[in-house]
Structure formats: structure tokens, C-alpha cells
């Protein structure tokens, strides 16, 4: 096989793997019938288009001559997209370093490794772009339908962003590799990837709260202060926004810049990738050493289970990054709470649904890790205690963890408004209990390392968990503002839970 033929062959192989991985993510590894797949996709696409219309339908008429606030908002949205794609790309790059089963084969094959890794970097870019196109298509379509074909240029911006994020992700991962070593890069990269996208949104929210006393992210972007600091209208900074609005010249430059950046990254890093991979293989994970002198602790069998779960949760890097994300989202409401002591703002009511929503989501993740993610399932099943007691101990762990995380916020709220604190506490308890129950009804035994894919194991459970958290968050907010309406939303959410239970495998 010639060098170019080998390269083409490897590119095809990479695309096939990426395609199958993407399909597995969407179908949870199950074979779907063609008809049901098409129906699902159509329903999903329709819903996404409706959501997109609700969010940006009114902006379709924007023309090329824009003021600074509008350019700032569009640029910030593009940057948010860039940050989210970067987090996805960093994760893909770490997989290239650490997926050893695949790499052993490649490294031992008689091919030019620089070429192979160039293809792999290109495949990462392609995967990130495809994912971004998939998610952005409804939004661009809505803009095209409302504002004309010039909005098609937005697809080009998405591609340019994808190219640049793949390039930056490789550089960031290699930089981490060099500064903190191969053994720590994976964990740090995972955490960086998890918080990078959320960080930008939260930073905007924090700035809005501190400056304007509102949770709206747009308050900062559309403010006079931002317009004053922002560069002139002819600045390069606005090129992504201009390109999105149909400026062909800006679009061509953006695409060219993205391609050049990726090309340079491939040229610089591909020849060294093999060395990095060898260093990963040669470097064993650092031996974490525990307490040498602590004696075995006495206690009941459930206590042993609870202790084990707490230790594993505490030591789980995925959970650390996920929890960090959830806690980051809690910073804005916490700040809001702090501000409200000073000005007695009615906006404090907004804190309750945010806390309840975060509690529901976090409880879902924790419940999956403790109830489904059991690495020694055989051991626990062959232990001499009834399955119900094992389950109870695991549920207790989830509820205790949620209590420990959210109690300080509820306590702080108690000083501001005792009734609101009571409603928030109740909302947190109900949302956490509901999310845990859903995980219990849809439990599928898995390894903890599969946490990333938990949402694809049962889409129904994922949607039910999200709707339940949203429902209880809305109910808590309404309980403070319009208690009569809260009864209706509460009953609706309970109805969703009842319907979920009815169709769950646990009942069947």
C-alpha cells in the first residue's frame, strides 16, 4: 500500500469508528429499526427547531450594519459555542492519548506514525464539527427561514470554530502533558473540559449579579460599560459575528484561519504524538497511598456499604468534575443571596428553583454512581444481606450527600426568608428523592467508568430525570409566588413520575 493509500485507508477507518461511536451514543448500543430511528430523528429535529425558534427567532431580521451591543452578544454566543466545542475536543484528544488497546495496535504497525496521528487530529476536528453542526442546524435553519439565505454563512462559522477548537485542544492537552505529566493530565483535562463551557456562562452571570443585581447573562453584554470597553466596529474581534451575518470576506478569512491553525497543529504535534503516547504507556498511575495505621472500623453491614460509597464518591475524578460543574452553577444564586441581604430584592425568589434544579440533577448523577455504577457487583450480590438493605444503604448515601451539599445554602436562606428556606429544603428533598427513584426504576448494572455514558443507557430515564427536576424547581418557585398554581405544577410533576414508574423496567 502506498503512503497516500494507507493514509486514506486510515482516515476511512477513523471516520467509521467515529460514526459508530456517535451512533452508539445515540442508540445506547441497541439496534434500532430504520423506521423508528427516522421517527425519533424527525421528532427530535422538530422539537429542536421549535426550541430554536423560541430562543432566536426574533433575531432573524438582524442586518449587517450593527451596533456594538448586538455584536457583543453575537460574539459572546460564538465564544460560548467555541468554549463548549473546546471542552468536547479536549476530551477527544485525551482519549487519543489514553485509549491504549487501540494505540498498541497502531504503534506496533509498520506505518508512519506522524501521518496516522495527523489523520487522528483531523478526525477529532471532524467529529467536533459534526457534533456542533448537528446541534446548531435548528438554530441556523430558523434564522435562514426568518432572515434569508445569508444566514447559511453561520454553518461556515461553526466549521471554522470546530477547526480552531481541535487545534487549541491538542495544544492545551500537550501543554498539560508537559507541565503536570502524563499521569495527571487525564484527570485535569477531564475537569478542565467539564468546567470550561459552564465557566463562561457562570462568569457572565456573576458579573451581571454583581453589577446589576440580575441573573440575566445579557445584562453585562448589552450594558453601556461593555460597549465602552469593546473595540471599534471595524475590529477583527467582530469577524465571527459579521461572518455569521453573511459577510463572505470575513467568513473566508475565518475558515482559512481555522484551517491554517489546524494545519500548523498537525505539523507541529503529529510527529511528537508517538513519543507522548509511549510516555503515557510507560508511566504507571501514581500510587495513591492511604492511611497506614488506621484500624478496621466496626459497624453494621449497611455502615460498611455507606462508608465504601462515600470513599468511592470522594475519590471519583468524574464525580469531582461533575460536582464541580453543579457547584459552579450554584455560585450565581449564592451571590444573589449575598446581595439580597443588602438590597432586599425580590429577585431572591429566583434562587429557590436554581437550587432545587441543581439538587435534582446532582442527585441523579450520584444515584447512578451508587446504585448502578457498582464495580464489584458480584461481591455485593454474594454478600449475606438482602438486596433491599443494599439498595437502602446506597439511597441513604445519595440523600446524605445532597443534604451535606445543599444544607449550607438553605441555612443561609433561613436568615433571609424562613418560609423560602422551608420551601427550598422541601424542593431539594423532593427533587433529590425523585431523581434517585428514577435511577432505581431504570437501574442497569454498569461500571463506574461508564458514568459519561449514563445518559445514553436510558434516554427515557434521562428525560424523566430532567423533567422531574425542572418540574420540582418550577413548583418550588411558584409555591413562593403563586401557591395555587404550584399545586397544579406539583401534580403535573408527580404525574410525570407516576407515568415514568408505570413504564419503567422495575415495574415490568
Amino acid at each position: 500500500m502506498t503512503s497516500s493509500a494507507a493514509l486514506t485507508w486510515f482516515a476511512r477507518h477513523e471516520i467509521r469508528l467515529a460514526w459508530r461511536e456517535g451512533m452508539a451514543m445515540m442508540t445506547a448500543g441497541r439496534r434500532l429499526r430504520k423506521r423508528s430511528t427516522v421517527i425519533w430523528l424527525l421528532v427530535f429535529a422538530a422539537l429542536m427547531h421549535l426550541a430554536a425558534y423560541a430562543v432566536i427567532g426574533r433575531f432573524a431580521d438582524l442586518d449587517g450594519l450593527l451596533d456594538k451591543p448586538t455584536l457583543i452578544v453575537i460574539t459572546a454566543c460564538a465564544f460560548l459555542g467555541w468554549a463548549l466545542m473546546l471542552s468536547q475536543a479536549i476530551e477527544s484528544v485525551t482519549r487519543v492519548f489514553y485509549a491504549r488497546a487501540d494505540l498498541d495496535l497502531i504503534m506496533s504497525s509498520p506505518v508512519a506514525l506522524a501521518n496516522v496521528f495527523s489523520v487522528r487530529i483531523a478526525a477529532i476536528a471532524l467529529t467536533v464539527i459534526m457534533m456542533a453542526l448537528l446541534l446548531s442546524t435548528p438554530f441556523v435553519n430558523v434564522l435562514v427561514l426568518g432572515g434569508g439565505p445569508r444566514w447559511f454563512a453561520a454553518y461556515g462559522v461553526v466549521i471554522a470554530i470546530g477547526l480552531s477548537t481541535a487545534a487549541v485542544a491538542v495544544a492545551v492537552t500537550v501543554a498539560l502533558f508537559r507541565t503536570i505529566g502524563p499521569s495527571r493530565t487525564r484527570l485535569v483535562a477531564q475537569i478542565v473540559a467539564a468546567v470550561i463551557g459552564a465557566g463562561f456562562v457562570i462568569a457572565l452571570q456573576i458579573a451581571a449579579i454583581l453589577s446589576y443585581g440580575t441573573l440575566s447573562r445579557f445584562a453585562v453584554l448589552t450594558s453601556d460599560a461593555a460597549a465602552m470597553v469593546a473595540p471599534d466596529l471595524d475590529s477583527l474581534l467582530w469577524w465571527p459575528a459579521r461572518a455569521m451575518l453573511g459577510d463572505t470576506e470575513a467568513l473566508v478569512w475565518l475558515l482559512a484561519a481555522g484551517l491554517v491553525l489546524l494545519g500548523i497543529t498537525m505539523a507541529v504535534y503529529s510527529p511528537r504524538f508517538a513519543d507522548y503516547v509511549i510516555r503515557v504507556s510507560a508511566t504507571a498511575a501514581p500510587a495513591h497511598r492511604g492511611h497506614g495505621t488506621r484500624p478496621f472500623r466496626a459497624g453494621s453491614r449497611q455502615q460498611a456499604l455507606r462508608r465504601k460509597e462515600f470513599v468511592l464518591l470522594w475519590r471519583d475524578p468524574w464525580l469531582v468534575s461533575q460536582t464541580l460543574m453543579q457547584l459552579l452553577y450554584l455560585i450565581p444564586p449564592a451571590l444573589m443571596l449575598w446581595r439580597s441581604f443588602a438590597d432586599n430584592s425580590a429577585a431572591i425568589l429566583l434562587i429557590t428553583p436554581v437550587i432545587v434544579m441543581a439538587a435534582g440533577q446532582l442527585a441523579g448523577g450520584l444515584a447512578w454512581l451508587t446504585i448502578c455504577g457498582e464495580d464489584a457487583a458480584d461481591l455485593v450480590t454474594t454478600a449475606p444481606l438482602p438486596a433491599s438493605r443494599v439498595t437502602r444503604a446506597k439511597i441513604e448515601v445519595v440523600l446524605i450527600a445532597i443534604g451535606a451539599i445543599f444544607a449550607p445554602l438553605v441555612l443561609a436562606l433561613l436568615f433571609a426568608s424562613p418560609p423560602q428556606a422551608a420551601v427550598t429544603a422541601l424542593g431539594v428533598a423532593v427533587a433529590a428523592a425523585s431523581a434517585t427513584a428514577i435511577q432505581l426504576w431504570f437501574r442497569v448494572q454498569a461500571r463506574r467508568s461508564q458514568f459519561r455514558r449514563r445518559q445514553t443507557s436510558s434516554r427515557l430515564a434521562t428525560f424523566a430525570e430532567a423533567f422531574s427536576s425542572i418540574g420540582w424547581a418550577a413548583t418550588s418557585a411558584l409555591a413562593l409566588a403563586w401557591p395555587a398554581v404550584a399545586v397544579v405544577t406539583g401534580l403535573m410533576t408527580a404525574g410525570i413520575l407516576a407515568a415514568t414508574w408505570k413504564i419503567s423496567p422495575e415495574r415490568g
Binding site: A287, R297, R301, D375, D378, T382
Partner: protein
């Protein structure tokens, strides 16, 4: 004087499990207390399914399982209290140290910490894991993980030890440690039932050998009894095993 008959360590009667096809087909099996029993069979013969049903990991479609006189299907908790299970794929927690893992197992089986801790240290030491007592298992090789799992199975002093391919992934020295540990347990009155594809291990260690194919026991006895059944006194276990399985395959 009235003679009190000691119950068998394991008694299976009509044990049946069906997936797409019968995996275990009305299996009858009796293993005596203090016996080292090797269960052999080709891939897919039903060995692991049988052992998983005994350990309480699978519910049989029909039949009974008695562990030292305890009905394991009627009172699974009592049966599990005296049973240990080790699979070929060591399932341990990456984020726990071997000592923490054994502390957890001892806690699950309700063993007094004052007894469990010295026992855990001794077991891990005898398996060559002394230098790694406080290291998390995430960096361990498969052999080391297998030894941690085995130590976990023994820390609660079980009376019936069920092992599914326990020597997979172990080096020669580790395999010898494990074999010695199991033989010591048998000498102390414990019963061991083990599946293995290493016929030499079965030949050297087992008091009795059972050969299973298509979910049914096709031969059973001591090595000399099996030779007699086979009609050749000088034949190896490997030759007998292949002959038995071939006959069964042709019959099927």
C-alpha cells in the same frame, strides 16, 4: 447410638437454567465437606452458570441448591454467610487500597474488626501483597487484582469457596501461592469447588473431578476412577477430557 449424617458441602438437584438454549440441564451434583472439587468442561458447557447459581448470582429455572444443609434458594442470606465467590474477572474497587477492600468485605460479612484486620494483613501478606497494602488498586496488574479478590473472598473465613478460573492471569509464583492457600483451607476443613482450563491443576489438586458438557455432568470421580471409567490406566486427564468431550459432542 444414633448416627448423625453430616450434610454435604454442596448438593444440587435437578438444577436447570435456560437462556436461548439449556445452559444447565437438570444437573445433580454432590460435593462433600473438606473436598477439593474441580469442575471441568469445554467453553459454554455451563460451568460458570452452575457456579453463579450456587453463589446466588443467578436464579435457577428449576431445581434446588443446598449449601451445608442450608437451602440456598429459600434462605440465601444464611447460605451466603458461609460461602465465598471468586470470578475469573476480578471485580474490585480501583479507588480502594487492598486493605480498605478487605475491610469493606469483612464489614459486609459482619466480621469483628479485631479478627478481620489481622486476618486481612496475613492473607495479603501470604499472597505477596504486603508492599502494596496501602496503594489504591487502580494501578494493579490483573494478577494482583485477582489476588486482592481472592484475599477478599477468604477474609470472612468461608466454609465453601467457589472459584471460577482463579488462576487466570497469575504468574507461576502467584499461582503457587494461591494453590497453597487453597490447599491449606481444604486441610482446615473448608470445601473448594473450582473451574479451570488448566487440567494439570485439576489433576494435581482435586480430590474429585467432574466433567460437564451441554449443562450435564458426563463424568465424575477421582483421577483413578475416571481412568477406570475410560478403560486406560496410563492415560492423562487431558486425553480423557478430550475423549469425553468428543463423545458428548458427537452424541449431541
Amino acid at each position: 447410638m444414633k448416627h448423625v449424617q453430616q450434610p454435604s458441602a454442596l448438593e444440587l438437584r435437578g438444577l436447570t437454567k435456560r437462556f436461548d438454549r439449556p445452559a444447565v440441564d437438570a444437573l445433580d451434583l454432590t460435593i462433600h465437606v473438606g473436598e477439593f472439587y474441580a469442575l471441568l468442561g469445554p467453553n459454554g458447557a455451563g460451568k460458570t452458570t452452575t457456579l453463579r447459581m450456587v453463589a446466588g448470582l443467578l436464579r435457577p429455572d428449576a431445581g434446588s441448591v443446598s449449601v451445608l444443609g442450608i437451602d440456598a434458594l429459600g434462605d440465601p442470606v444464611a447460605a451466603k454467610q458461609i460461602t465465598a465467590w471468586v470470578s475469573d474477572e476480578p471485580m474490585i474497587y480501583d479507588k480502594l487500597t487492598p486493605l480498605e477492600y478487605l475491610e469493606f468485605v469483612a464489614g459486609l460479612w459482619g466480621i469483628d474488626p479485631a479478627i478481620a484486620e489481622p486476618s486481612a494483613r496475613e492473607l495479603l501478606g501470604s499472597l505477596g501483597l504486603e508492599p502494596h497494602l496501602h496503594e489504591r488498586c487502580e494501578g494493579f496488574s490483573k494478577g494482583m487484582r485477582q489476588k486482592v479478590a481472592l484475599a477478599g473472598a477468604l477474609v470472612h473465613d468461608p466454609r465453601l469457596i467457589i472459584l471460577d478460573e482463579p488462576l487466570t492471569g497469575l504468574d507461576a509464583v502467584s499461582a503457587r501461592h494461591v494453590k497453597k492457600l487453597l490447599q491449606d483451607r481444604v486441610r482446615a476443613g473448608c470445601t473448594v469447588i473450582m473451574t479451570t482450563h488448566i487440567l494439570e491443576v485439576a489433576e494435581r489438586m482435586a480430590d474429585r473431578i467432574g466433567v460437564i458438557a451441554s449443562g450435564r455432568l458426563i463424568a465424575e470421580g477421582t483421577l483413578s476412577e475416571l481412568r477406570q471409567q475410560n478403560g486406560r490406566n496410563d492415560t492423562s486427564l487431558e486425553d480423557m477430557f478430550i475423549a469425553l468431550v468428543d463423545v458428548e459432542t458427537e452424541a449431541a
